[in-house]
């Protein structure tokens, strides 16, 4: 047994987190920063933070993840990190020559109280920021919120630093994709293009974290939203923010700063959430939904129709981040599955309420917890086993111990490929999710079939 010490009984825990279902803010900020073209993320703290974030993102994407650090030592921790950051900015622009440096803070620099805008001001006045180059920052204290907030904060910083209104409302829509994979970002752009909608998507990690093998290493890959595009977001007709936690704050900031109206929607995972996304874009841009998308929707629905027997009332346990879980839960309910254990490590009041609403009609008791951990998740499963689990790679330990099939979704996925190339958003992504669910359930059925009950046609 891999998790041999996890008991079925669930004693109350007030202070101890075991097997977290979240990590800290800075890694989210680093991921978002990589979605700016020519950007070098910078961790203002001690070296360990950036080493850990780079390692985790690298393992998830199997791609180079470049970033820099202020390399705090004890001295900097006592006297503040201003000297370190000034030196870092100068070195980075001289040696690594990025278009922009995206600084995020850490628990260390936040506890010290370093004032990043003030340090930027000093760097500017000392001529350490070359002409035409940029810096931006987000405060991402690790002891507040989770990686989800870090992503949201850095995305919002892109608005705070760059969005400007030119006084017109251009025929363009801002799309904020939320913390999804590069493949998902590409799919969101494709759907918009399919509908004939001109869009700016930010952050955009497509072609940054799913780059090709060309025999040539580019420190700054082709992808990413440009600073010029970020500036223009202030003049777009509207914003569609996907994922209320990861994209909501940036969308609201754009509204407040540049009067760009926004719609904050779920991540377009599953049928209804994708429908809402497509419909919102249709109305905001004043376009009609093309046949090509109707076809994709119909094909997705066709799979659900044909394979309904395999989904019906299967119990599912989900662990991950709020935006993903809300969309996934709705989708599972829509295909007659029963999501019964739902855990996120990220604390968020609205989450539990939303999940309860979404699962109101599920004919089973539903456990939901925000601010929970994977230890609790496992204990719930021990008490009420499920047919399928959905979560990040760490779920595989539960999967092996409890002999329950499992689909990898979320962050981090350290042991499989695919997420960077094949989306789970939109109708096409929905089809892929359905295929994954069916593969997991049907492989299990085949494995458990006897010589008598084995089915050829399924």
């Amino acid at each position: 047994m891999l998790l041999r010490h996890t008991p079925k009984e669930i004693p109350e825990r007030k202070a101890l987190t075991v097997n977290p279902a979240k990590t800290c803010q800075p890694i989210g900020a680093m991921y978002a920063s990589l979605g700016i073209h020519g950007c070098l993320p910078h961790s203002h703290g001690s070296q360990g933070c950036y080493a850990y974030h780079r390692s985790t993102l690298t393992r998830h994407y199997k791609e180079p993840v470049l970033a820099a650090t202020s390399s705090f030592t004890e001295g900097a921790s006592v006297f503040g990190g201003q000297a370190n950051l000034l030196q870092a900015i100068n070195n980075i622009f001289t040696i690594y020559d990025p278009e922009v440096i995206a600084v995020h803070t850490t628990c260390l620099s936040e506890t010290i109280g370093d004032d990043i805008p003030q340090i930027f001001g000093k760097a500017e006045s000392e001529g350490k920021i070359p002409e035409g180059k940029y810096v931006l920052h987000a405060n991402t204290p690790s002891y507040v919120g989770s990686h989800v907030h870090g992503f949201a904060n850095m995305t919002k910083a892109m608005v705070d630093y760059f969005a400007t209104s030119n006084g017109h409302k251009e025929k363009c829509i801002n799309l904020i994709p939320g913390w999804v994979e590069p493949s998902d970002m590409k799919e969101i752009k494709r759907i918009a293009a399919e509908m004939g909608v001109k869009s700016i998507l930010f952050p955009d990690t497509e072609n940054v974290l799913n780059g090709p093998q060309t025999g040539k290493f580019n420190m700054y890959p082709k992808g990413g939203v440009t600073i010029d595009q970020l500036k223009k977001t202030g003049s777009s007709r509207g914003t569609i923010a996907l994922g209320r936690m990861t994209s909501g704050p940036a969308a609201k900031a754009l509204d407040a700063k540049c009067k760009v109206p926004c719609e904050i929607l779920d991540l377009p995972i599953g049928l209804k959430a994708t429908d809402r996304f497509v419909d919102a874009m249709r109305k905001m841009a004043g376009v009609t939904v093309p046949d090509s998308l109707n076809l994709e929707r119909g094909q997705m629905l066709d799979i659900i129709t044909d394979m309904q027997a395999y989904f019906y009332h299967k119990k599912v346990a989900l662990v991950g981040d709020p935006d993903q879980l809300e969309a996934l839960t709705e989708f599972l309910v829509d295909i007659d599955m029963m999501p019964i254990h739902i855990v996120t490590g990220t604390k968020n009041k609205a989450f539990e309420k939303r999940i309860k609403e979404l699962t109101a009609d599920v004919p089973h008791e539903v456990n939901v917890k925000s601010g929970g951990d994977m230890f609790l998740f496992h204990q719930w499963i021990k008490n009420e086993p499920v047919d399928l689990m959905i979560g990040n790679t760490y779920v595989k330990y539960i999967s092996k111990d409890e002999d329950i099939p499992f689909i990898r979704h979320g962050f981090p996925i350290l042991d499989r490929i695919g997420h960077s190339y094949f989306p789970t958003v939109g109708y096409k992504g929905g089809m892929r999710l359905l295929e994954k669910i069916l593969d997991a359930l049907m492989d299990r059925q085949d494995r458990d079939a006897t010589d008598i009950t084995m089915e050829l046609v399924m």
Binding site: L16, S55, P64, S71, E74, I95
Partner: protein, 558 residues
């Protein structure tokens, strides 16, 4: 075993080509890009391997702070303490006190294997991550209460033998006294509980964390259990972390030779083994950097001598086994070791002969850790490959230049904040395993004790480089200039290197491979490198239309 396609080796041409490059020019070109101050500093870390007199190599600067903004491979003190040294011990609850990230990132991400079936209680907490998940209110009002509560809850649920607590960056700043809390909880719960002040900003790299961990183990764990176990030749293996199962096969070879491992620090390790490790006769050090402190302290307190060994590379393994046998001086052991070597070398030599034609003369670079950049050169040279540049991520000068430079190493402010324990002879347990004169002379039966000559002595003079704490930019330039056949480092460098269309081998985690230790491991490694360098994939990078972009054919409808 897969048969690799016949590939023409450009051995001689390769060898000639890289020897024509002038290292002095390379160094100058690379440093030119840096701002002047940075260039001055990096220059001292970027050394062309040369002897400056009989005994000494060119001095290299190491174990000093990384310049902010330079993309380094390094991690932090916490990573060295919790991740490296303490992490691989299965039956300790390692509780991270701080925000959630540090605990999360160090959760199962090193490939330390462990076999819980070999300790009676079967405890294994390595698959778990324990954290106090510190929130802003605790940063403001202090986190001691939450820490005490978390220890209580961990005890109530898991009933472990030992709980250790690791401080992360904010703990040092807000002033939580983890040592007072753990002392109190130890008294209350009656199990071993203690803390490590391994805040990430301490020292300049993981190295500080190794030292902190060594101190904690020495103060709180080693020497708690005086039971003397079985075995005629009883040794501890220090600085072996059982990545990919290395410890398992070292143990296998030892068993064949009749040598008993009392405790491994720390791979496939148990706190039970740590507790009576002071009953061993001899300490063997694999990774000198991470663990020599414990060996020195055990010698002073208990009279256990130590010697440097290396089980990476067949030749090095044989030399190390012979050293151990010679140390004991027992003919029976000497004969048995020789028999084992003779038996094992048959397959090794066969494998070497098989891979050499495909690898001979090719260049390797390795930048990793605190000992592996040295040890793995053995394996590459057994394949006929040449290590052109190597360096450590967090080592000190003695790991490069040899321990004889220890008295000349200046301790700067960043290292001074790591406690140096004062150790005295244990009044009851001190028992010199060899005559005091030999301990003092650091030599027994002609075998040098407490000796490590460092990496530079094993590298070719004049043409090769020792580069400490190599930066991303320097990595790029070295690859561009020398186009080595393979580059070795860690996960952060892996894909950047491979995007160049060349293989990159991780020597921290071994990618998904291993074991690479002793004889069987050496064979694994030869074939791993053969696979990586001679894989078909490198031939697929250019699409056919890139080879001949001009259209020469007629269109179908013409």
């Amino acid at each position: 075993m897969t048969v690799m396609p016949e590939k023409k080796t450009e051995n001689e041409e390769d060898a000639k080509a890289w020897r024509e490059i002038k290292p002095e020019d390379v160094k100058k070109t690379i440093l030119a890009k840096y701002p002047a101050k940075v260039a001055r500093k990096r220059s001292k870390h970027f050394v062309i391997n040369k002897k400056k007199d009989e005994q000494n190599y060119e001095e290299i600067q190491a174990n000093v702070r990384t310049i902010p903004g330079i993309i380094s491979q390094r991690g932090c003190c916490y990573a060295g303490c919790k991740g490296v040294v303490m992490g691989p011990t299965r039956d300790i609850i390692n509780l991270t006190h701080g925000p959630i990230g540090c605990g999360f990132y160090s959760w199962l991400t090193r490939r330390n294997q462990t076999d819980p079936s070999t300790t009676p209680d079967g405890h294994n907490f390595m698959t778990y991550c324990f954290s106090t998940d510190m929130q802003d209110e605790e940063v403001i009002f202090g986190g001691e209460k939450k820490l005490a509560q978390a220890i209580q809850e961990a005890y109530d649920i898991f009933k472990p033998k030992m709980i250790s607590v690791f401080s992360t960056c904010p703990i040092g700043l807000i002033g939580d006294d983890i040592h007072a809390v753990t002392r109190k909880m130890q008294e209350k719960l009656g199990i071993t509980i203690f803390g490590f002040s391994c805040e990430g900003y301490k020292g300049v790299s993981q190295s500080a964390g190794h030292h902190v961990a060594n101190n904690g183990l020495f103060k709180h764990v080693i020497g708690q259990d005086d039971t003397v176990g079985e075995g005629k030749y009883r040794v501890n293996l220090l600085g072996e972390y059982n990545i990919g199962g290395d410890e398992f096969i070292i143990d296998e070879i030892f068993e064949k030779c009749g040598i008993k491992i009392v405790s491994t620090f720390s791979g496939n390790s148990s706190v039970d083994h740590f507790r009576n490790s002071h009953t061993a006769d001899l300490n063997l050090i694999m990774c000198h950097r991470s663990i020599n402190y414990v060996a020195d302290m055990m010698e002073e307190k208990y009279g256990i001598p130590w010697m440097k060994v290396n089980f990476l590379g067949a030749k090095a393994t044989s030399a190390s086994l012979r050293k151990i046998a010679q140390y004991y001086g027992d003919q029976e052991l000497i004969d048995r070791v020789e028999a084992v070597i003779a038996e094992e070398m048959v397959a090794v030599e066969k494998a070497q002969a098989d891979v050499r034609p495909r690898l001979e003369g090719k260049l390797a670079m390795m930048f990793v850790g605190g000992s592996r950049a040295h040890h793995y050169q053995e394996l590459f040279s057994e394949m006929g490959m040449q290590t052109i540049a190597a360096g450590y991520e967090f080592a000190h000068r003695d790991d490069y230049e040899g321990r004889h430079v220890l008295p000349t190493i200046r301790v700067d402010a960043d290292s001074r904040n790591i406690e140096e324990l004062t150790v005295e002879k244990d009044p009851e347990r001190y028992n010199p395993r060899i005559p005091e004169e030999e301990l003092k002379a650091e030599e027994r039966h002609g075998i040098k004790l407490k000796e490590y000559e460092g990496m530079m002595a094993d590298m070719e003079e004049g043409f090769t480089y020792a580069i400490d704490d190599i930066s991303q930019y320097e990595t790029e330039k070295m690859i561009e200039i020398y186009k080595p056949a393979i580059f070795c480092a860690g996960i952060k460098e892996k894909y950047m290197v491979q995007k160049h269309g060349m293989p990159m081998k991780q020597l921290h985690s071994y990618d998904s491979g291993g074991p690479y230790a002793v004889y069987k491991g050496a064979i694994n490694f030869y074939y791993e490198i053969d696979r990586m360098i001679n894989s078909k994939v490198w031939g697929h990078i250019r699409a056919p239309w890139e080879e001949s972009p001009e259209l020469t054919a007629m269109y179908a409808d013409e």
